[in-house]
Amino acid sequence: MEAKLTFKDFNEGLKQGKLSGLKCQGCGELIAQPRILCGKCGGSEFDSIEFAGPGSIQTFTVNYVAAEGREAEAPYIVAIVELDEGPWVMGNIVGLKPEAATIDIIGKRVTLSGVAVFQGDKYSAGEAARPLFKLL
């Protein structure tokens, strides 16, 4: 069977500022990344949805040691954001200096403010976009 949402769909949508996801027709679970069967109920029927963008920071790190090929990006803030609809997504926090990212930013409101694209390296089979969030 063919998946309702593929990485390519998700990535192309994100590059246009859309956070794509799935709603399970079986149990109503909302999912913010592609999957072929529901992890909650095993269902295979999904509706395509789009998340609005606002959410809150659940956790974060300021990364000082980047992987090969991404050294120029460091330091940068990686965060897990809980979207208002419920699911978690990972992205970067922008508009905040890394040294200002203390544990107090956990729980702070953010919204989707843009997208950045990892252009890929020889291992990654192409690019992958990620959401950028800014503090509200």
Binding site: Q33, Q58, T59, N63, Y64, V65, A67, I106, D121, Y123
Partner: protein
Amino acid sequence: MRKVAIAGAGMTRFSGKQPRTAIELFGDAATDAIRESNIRSQDVQALFMGNFMGDFEEGQAHIQAFAADYLGLARIPANRYENACASASAAIRDAFIWVASGYYDIVLAGGAECATKMGTPLATRTFAMASDSRYEYASGLTFPGVFAMLTHLYARKYNIPLEKLKRQLYQVSINSHYYAARNPKAQYQKELTMEDALKSPMIASPLQLVDCCPFSDGAAVLVITSEDVAKKLTKKPVLIAGVGQASAGNLLSQKEYLPRIRSRELAAAQSYKMAGLGPKDIDLIELHDCFSTAALIALESLGFFPYGTAGDAVEKGETKIGGRIAVNPSGGLKAKGHPVGATGAAQAYEVVRQLRGECGERQVEGARVGMTDTLGGDGGTLCNIILKRGW
């Protein structure tokens, strides 16, 4: 199902950069395990080998077939296990299942890794491949970053001031170094002071270098046999009393559980149930302290301390030998070293030595039951193995 035992165990010293290949290291550990088991190499019926990144380290995929040939065993089936940091534990668990089923009587299971051959930038890149390449790595997540985020989450979830938690985490690393300094097979043979810890550089906030395990080279191998065979071979067979394994997706799909690792809770429950034992019966644990926070999370999920209190227990000395539960008397991943594909087998090696009473200064007196805990990726694979004296 038949009862299954470890008849012998071998391990190289874990180290930083060294000249030998992963196959050569595996050969050293395997021949030591074979000799100790009093079998002939020709008695081995299958080889299960953990190896995470041979492709990137030495341009060597399919390493298991060449390792078998290096040991003069080219005729037997050989499988590679790639479960990130839990590779060797997955190999040991499968060896257990095949021997328990009666299909094989004698299997070699372990692993080898030469992570230092990559250098830090490439190693940071390849280790990140064990998290989600699309929905995590796009954001620049690295392995220290995974546990850094779990550290902040842990502090917030259990309402522990970060300063206090950081002090407890330093103590985790200090304990590991104390035991590694007494383990001739450990990568780091020196103790760590609070002063050293405080000035350690930041890697991924709030984790500093002192919170992170090193890149390592090394190998460890077990001879796994039926109990009947093991009893003929050795006076001190170590029984595999229980095993468990579970999987998880990326951090985002673990939303309902983090900072608890759900795959660990499932795997631990399986292993306790199979062994008919519980946390109170375990005399020592070799657990997955890839980062200091990971040790606290493991201690709680395995049932040794209530959620949010493992740091207090560490500060009170309850995780030292003589405390409530002896934790990582080998020095752990942090200070014994973490040659990824070998780590689970090295954990089992330490438990075997402890149960036999062969650990000298770092001996857990009278240890009868020990456990291993190995985590791969960001919880993607979790294996637990419970070992007990078979004599």
